[in-house]
Structures are given as C-alpha cells and as structure tokens.
Symmetry: C2
Subunit: 220 residues, 2 copies
C-alpha cells in the first residue's frame, strides 16, 4: 500500500500544508494539524522546513512552480486568460485552492505571480486580436487586468459559485456537460455579445462626459 505514495516525507508534509493552508488559511492552521494530516510528528515539520513561515514560503514556491508549468503547458489549448481552466486541465486542484486562499491572505510571492499572469494575458489577448479572434481595445492593459481579476475572483469565490450555480470550478467538470453549460454558457455570452444595449452605452458615455466636465469646472 505504501508503494502507492512515492513522495518524500518532506513532500508529503508540504502537500498536507498546501491542503490545510488552502482550507483554513495560514493563521488558522497549526503545525500540529499539518503534522497530523501528513502522519508525522510536529517536530518533524520544523526539522524539514525550519519554521512555519519557511514552510509557507516552500508551499508558495511549489504552487508557483505548478502554475508556471500549467501556464506553459495548457495555455495554447485552453481558454487563454481563464487560469482556472488550466488548473482543471492538469488536475492540480489543491494548488488551485491554495492560490485562491493565498490571493487574499497575501504572501511573499503571489503578487508577483498575479502580475505574471496578467502579462501573459496581455500577450494572449494581443495574439487574439491579430488573428481576429478578439476585438481590439484602447485599454489593452486594463482589459487584460480586469479579465484576469474576474477569472481569479471566480476562483477565490468558488464556494459561492458552486452554491449559486452548482459548479465547482476548482474541480474537474469537463465530464459534466450540465456544469459546463451552467458556468461557460453565460460567461461566453457576456464575452461575445456583452450585456448592455446600445442605448445604455450611449447614456453611460454621456453621463461619464458630463461628470468629467463638471469635475473640470470644480477643479478650476
């Protein structure tokens, strides 16, 4: 039975930490809990990683590595800026949940990683525009950033999304057509035809301009 888990003890501890940190946050997880999940003593956790903070950094770096692998591998065949799709494709569910938590908890490396994902999205979108798949825009960076944030935001709020539409985007639902429809269909619709009518766009543009000129008056 042991042959079914060929990971190092240190790797098992690290993976247990990733799971626990993802579920309860770093502050909400004790070393004793991680040790219990990994089936070792608390002292061994410290022996292998030095301290809780160092263990957290090790988790950070490991998940960051997975993300970079996933991006390199499944990017071209997938949805581009939809990071969550890449995770599902590779089956790295704990890493996805860890990222979701860490995006809010904050960590030494996650900000850097998000910037990286957005830069990739900019490149992906630019290619899409060149090949006529994606509409051009004045706000290249802003649009890529917002699309990425929305995608990551859905990942972070996966529990709510699951409750709302019955789809866990941190799980592999590629075999479940119902789930695919519930999540992908409305998103695809928004991304293709938008939600506002021409009338609304015109109204908002006018309101925006008038607000702006009013502020210019104020500031004089």
């Amino acid at each position: 039975m042991r042959s079914s888990d060929d990971r190092t003890t240190a790797a098992r501890i690290r993976d247990a930490a990733i799971t626990e940190f993802a579920a309860r946050g770093v502050a909400g997880t004790s070393i004793r809990t991680i040790a219990a999940t990994a089936g070792v003593s608390p002292g061994l956790v410290i022996h292998h990683f030095g301290s809780k903070e160092d263990l957290r950094v090790a988790c950070d770096e490991h998940v960051a590595g997975i993300i970079r692998d996933v991006k390199g591998g499944a990017m071209a065949s997938g949805g581009g800026f939809d990071v969550t799709a890449a995770f599902r494709a590779v089956g790295e569910i704990p890493a996805a949940k860890y990222l979701a938590r860490t995006l809010v908890d904050g960590s030494p490396h996650v900000a850097e990683l998000v910037d990286e994902i957005v830069r990739d999205a900019v490149g992906y979108v630019a290619t899409g525009v060149e090949t006529g798949m994606i509409k051009p825009t004045e706000h290249e960076w802003g649009r890529a950033a917002i699309l990425t944030i929305w995608s990551l935001g859905a990942l972070v709020l996966h529990e709510h999304l699951e409750r709302l539409i019955g789809v866990d985007i941190t799980a592999d639902f590629s075999q479940d057509p119902t789930a695919t429809t519930a999540y992908m269909a409305p998103a695809l619709e928004i991304f293709s035809q938008g939600v506002f009518t021409e009338t609304t766009v015109q109204l908002m543009r006018e309101a925006f301009v008038s607000q702006r000129s009013a502020q210019e008056k104020e500031s004089v």
Copy 2:
C-alpha cells in the same frame, strides 16, 4: 476631543474588530489586538460580546445591516449589480473590506447575503431588460450570478487590482477621473461590446457542440 466620537464603547470595539478582521482575517486577529485598537482592555471585549465567535457574529450582522441599507439606498441611482459602487457611494469602506475578507473566510451569514445580492441582481437585470437597457438572455440566473461573482471577486482582490491598474475599489475614487477611467472604461467596454469576435463565438459554439455529442456517444 472625546465629543468627536459619540459611539458606544461596544460600538467602538465592534468597529475595531471589523477593521482588524478585514485586515488580517478572524484567525489572524487576537482579542488583545482588537482591544488595543479600540483602546480598552481585553476583558471588556468579552464582557460586551461574550466570546470571540459572538463578536464575529456581531460584526457579521452589523456589516450585513450596512449592506442591506446600502442596497436599498443607492441601488436605483447606481450601477445595479456593482456592489462595490454602492459601498463607495455610502462611504462604508471598512464594511466593504470586511465583506471582502469574510467572503473567503466563510461566516455564518455571508453565504445568505451573497444569495440575496444575486437575487437582487436578477431583479435589477430583469428590469433592465424590460426597459431596453440590458440585453435579454437564456441564462438569467447564471448571468446574474456570474456578474455578481465578478463584481465581488474584484472587491475581494482589491489589493491586486490596485497594484495592477492603480485603482482601489474599496476607496472613494469618485473625485479621481483617472482612476474612474482605468477601472470603469475597460469594464464598460466589455459589458457593451464583449471581447470575442463573431468568428470566435462561432468556433466555440461548434467546439462545444462536438464535445457534447462526443460525450453523449461515450455515455451510451
């Protein structure tokens, strides 16, 4: 000087707790920290709220109350399903940040609250469709849910959004036209014209159908 703060001591403790919980999470915040922020002794916190968990519930309910007020007041004049706009309009920044944290930490009341926001969004969108402001859809619930999740997701990831495009959506930037442009312009663009071209939509639809029929074959 004391006249500048007419809140009850209990209210000051509660507000301090909301701020600290929002910044560091519930597990990452000690009662002693809250007491220090409120300028009282740790014992007094317990005396007024019974326990840390009860204090958390009190924060939950207070913020939920603020959100319901905000929804009722600024909904009609604002962006509809953009919850964050409502917070800025009323100036309840700590409540917004508390909600952002609690959406991920989980709490006894937040799920209920999210469902409520989505139901409101469905109603708002339906009205918009009737008056010709919003495009109709097959997926009423799904679209409203996803739009709400995106909006809340941006709130949750406000720190990353600020770093990426220089706009803190938990702050009142109504006086800052640059910030308004950076965030609102791309979002409005996506919501009006979409991001995918007709070619892409057609391709995705075909891919979706073929995937589906392949799965139907499989399941036979």
